[in-house]
């Protein structure tokens, strides 16, 4: 894998697996490595080049081992992070627009209903005034037109008629 990475980076087809030297291998699968120049087997390729190569091909290396950046760690090579999922348009603006639209429509409805209600009430008042004037032509006694009252016979108060005679002190 490392040889492959170096090959890709240096655009040299000559780096072989034998150019990658391992040391300090532990049972928890960690090791130190150096990569030698394929032309002159003695010199090693500088660290920056190796780092850059690994950074470029990190994904490939991870996938080969079915590991991730968290589980396959190259010391002192920080992984390039994927940016967090960005929405194509801000969601909050959409919801905000919906809510504000509903509120504005609500306010307009309530205000116009109030104006309409007030106009109708004013008209109703006007017609009531006319009725009053018409009624004033008829003589009124306690809002009852006089001609309906039977003034000769008088009114009988049912309370006294229904009461027991015993309640009243006899003369």
């Amino acid at each position: 894998m490392l040889a492959y990475a170096m090959r890709r980076y240096l655009v040299q087809e000559t780096t072989q697996i034998s150019n990658v030297l391992l040391c300090n291998v532990t049972s928890r699968v960690s090791f130190w490595f150096v990569v030698t120049n394929s032309f002159t087997n003695m010199t090693t390729i500088p660290r920056n080049d190796v780092e850059a190569a690994i950074r470029m091909n990190r994904n490939r290396i991870n996938n080969a081992f079915l590991l991730t950046d968290d589980t396959l760690q190259f010391l002192e090579i920080s992984s390039t992070l994927a940016p967090p999922a960005e929405q194509p348009r801000p969601t909050w603006l959409i919801v905000f627009g919906v809510i504000l639209g509903i509120i504005v429509i609500g306010i307009v409805l309530v205000v116009s209903f109030g104006i309409y209600h007030r106009k109708r009430y004013k008209n109703a008042e006007k017609t009531e005034d006319l009725d009053d004037k018409y009624e004033a032509a008829i003589t009124m006694e306690n809002r009852i037109p006089c001609h309906t009252l039977d003034l000769k016979a008088g009114q009988i108060n049912g309370v006294y008629a229904a009461a027991d005679d015993d309640r009243f002190t006899p003369l």
Binding site: T26, S27, R28, S78, S79, T80, L81, P83, P84, A85, Q87, T91, W92, V95, F96, I99, L100, I103, V104, G106, I107, V110, V111, G114, R118
Partner: protein
């Protein structure tokens, strides 16, 4: 008596509640607010868990309920808003009403700004993954933003992407247009609901007052089933009776009851003034006060279970980090040490190779430490709770539920605040009778919106804390004291008892008379003095979010600049100045009237003598 049938300044009938339920829900909605969710649980947690209930209940019975009863009774009897009521009791006390109006106005300004923040979070909850779940990347995409990395994703979202806060209160910064848009939306919602007074709020209150209970129940059920919740509940409710010796606990309990019931703002007087004259306000008082306290308890159970879950979660992550250190150092196989084994493995290693263990940067992971992390106010809602929600399956749904609950809770309290401003204005007859009520409400909302724009500046949060800490508390305690004394001594206990007998069917019992005449005024006076003592001793400082601070992400303690300190002091007592101002004005007006009539009489006598 003439007052019962007092003429409405705008003509026509006084508006009335459509039914009793609307009135009860409005009062409950006004009393139950954001403080029930994020202040009461914090006080419980800080002051010894269940032991806090003792001073809380004592304050409720001796101070909260009596003052509340006075407000409802006097509003219902005199059928006026706060200004009208106090002017009717005595012209010299009219300043109390004006002061209540001023404080209500200031409270509306910053209360709705909090609702703006809640609305912003609500709008951002409709996406997966939630925007506060991950940090944005830095410039060369190899790591996260430094500020976010140093603090946490939720803190970063709150301080940077929401508030875009500056490091100092005198550094105003620019207006955040996102917050401005949300501010306009929340004032528009308030306007839509308050547009026709109790006619419109009466309909809206069915939803805004009942929906929070539904969501609280859902959260309670979900919270209790989360891992670690029950342990958190037990720990946080376990009473620590020693804490009762601290006088600060009693002061905080008394002030909590006071602000929880939203007393002395004039809102309850306004609501009660729309009642029919014969209504049992004694039963209403006890009902509403008990519902308010029960809600606080209910909410704190839900909050504590979620906090317990979060603490268990954080504890687990702490153990995981330590385990990783151990595995890396001692070359153990991956995932060979589970969370349960950690303690045993650590003990073994400490016994066999203590030097190597000592070199490791191991954190002390104790569950109690995580449970003790308390937060109140915006810190609880926007930092602690949002982080807890991130770990719940189905996070966006829970976020939407949580923030819509907060929004409706705050909205129903705003109804009371707006009514306490608009009802006295209408009663005073500031506008012509043909000036529509909708227009007056609109003007008030517009004025509040324009003034609240200053909270959308980058330093807005600091200013909000100033207003929250200094504008309301002292003034309200003073007004409540004057209310109790005014009704009991100036209006007269006998006249008040007759009124109550007329409204509820029987005279107030011994308990009420004793609390009104002696206990409540004394309690209020002692709260007032204690509050001033506490304020005088604490330096006027605030905690700033400063990225350059050496101990970032801890907030830097800075003292207010001189002019801000002057503002704080002014806010503390300026609204109360209405009381002596109006009393003095009345005195001067009366003396001038006496002088004028005396001069009139003299000149009339002279004329008669001359003729």
């Amino acid at each position: 008596m003439a007052r019962a049938g007092a003429v409405e300044p705008r003509g026509g009938q006084r508006p009335a509640w459509a039914n009793k339920l609307q009135y009860l829900l409005s009062c409950i909605g006004f009393a139950v607010g954001l403080g029930n969710i994020w202040r009461f649980p914090y006080l419980c947690q800080t002051y010894g868990g269940g032991a806090f209930l003792i001073p809380y209940l004592i304050a409720l019975v001796l101070e909260g309920i009596p003052i509340f009863y006075i407000e409802l009774a006097i509003g219902q009897r005199l059928r006026r808003g706060s200004i009208g009521v106090w002017t009717a009791i005595s012209p010299y006390l009219g300043g109390v009403g004006l002061g209540c109006l001023t404080v209500s106005f200031l409270v509306s300004l910053y209360y709705n700004t909090v609702l703006t923040w809640v609305l912003w979070y609500l709008l951002n909850s409709f996406q997966y993954p939630l925007p506060w779940s991950s940090c944005p990347l830095d410039l060369n995409r190899t790591g996260f933003e430094a500020e976010c990395q140093a603090s946490s994703t939720v803190s970063y979202f709150w301080y940077r992407q929401t508030l875009n806060i500056t490091a100092d209160i005198s550094d105003n910064g620019s207006i955040q247009w996102r917050l401005l848009a949300c501010l306009a939306a929340s004032w528009a919602v308030v306007y839509l609901c308050v547009i026709r007074g109790i006619e419109s709020t009466g309909k809206a209150i069915y939803f805004t007052a009942l929906f929070p209970y539904l969501v609280l129940t859902i959260f309670l059920i979900r919270g209790l089933t989360l891992p670690g919740a029950v342990k958190g509940l037990i720990y946080l409710f376990t009473p620590d009776v020693q804490v009762l010796w601290n006088p600060r606990v009693w002061l905080d309990a008394a002030t909590q009851i006071f602000f929880s019931l939203s007393l002395a703002l004039g809102g309850h007087i306004a609501f009660a003034s729309y009642n029919p004259p014969r209504n049992n306000c004694e039963k209403d008082t006890v009902t509403i006060a008990l519902v308010n306290s029960m809600t606080s308890l209910y909410a704190s159970i839900a909050v504590f279970s979620v906090l317990g879950f979060k603490a268990a979660n954080d504890h687990g992550h702490c153990l995981d980090r330590n385990t990783l250190h151990l595995i890396n150092e001692f070359d153990f196989p991956d995932q060979s040490v589970s969370r349960g084994d950690y303690a045993a493995v650590l003990a073994h290693l400490n016994a066999t190779q203590p030097e190597r263990v000592a070199r490791l940067p191991l954190e002390a992971c104790r569950l109690e430490d995580f449970l003790d992390k308390s937060a109140s106010g915006t810190g609880l809602a926007f930092i602690v709770f949002t982080e807890a929600i991130l770990h719940m399956p189905g996070a966006p749904g829970w976020a939407v539920l949580f923030f819509s609950m907060l929004f409706t809770l705050g909205l129903s309290s705003m109804f009371g605040n707006m009514e306490s401003i608009i009802t006295p204005l209408l009663d005073m007859g500031v506008t012509h009778r043909f000036f529509p009520k909708e227009a007056l409400t609109g003007l008030v909302c517009l004025l509040c919106f324009l003034l609240a724009i200053c909270f959308t500046l980058q330093s807005g949060n600091y200013w909000l804390e100033v207003l929250d800490s200094y504008a309301a508390p002292l003034n309200l305690v003073m007004f409540a004291f004057l209310e109790v004394v005014g009704v009991t001594y100036v209006y007269g206990m006998r006249r008040f008892s007759d009124d109550i007998a007329g409204m509820t069917g029987r005279r107030p019992g011994l308990f009420w008379r004793v609390t009104w005449k002696a206990v409540s005024p004394l309690l209020l006076l002692s709260i007032f003095v204690a509050y001033i003592a506490v304020l005088a001793r604490t330096p006027l400082s605030y905690r700033a979010w400063n990225t350059q601070y050496a101990r970032f992400p801890l907030r830097q303690e800075k003292s207010y600049p001189g002019w801000v300190q002057a503002t704080c002091v002014l806010l503390c007592f300026l609204p109360s100045l209405w009381v002596p101002a109006v009393a003095l004005g009345q005195l001067l007006a009366k003396r001038r009237w006496k002088q004028d009539t005396w001069q009139d009489r003299c000149s009339k006598l002279q004329d008669r003598g001359a003729s």
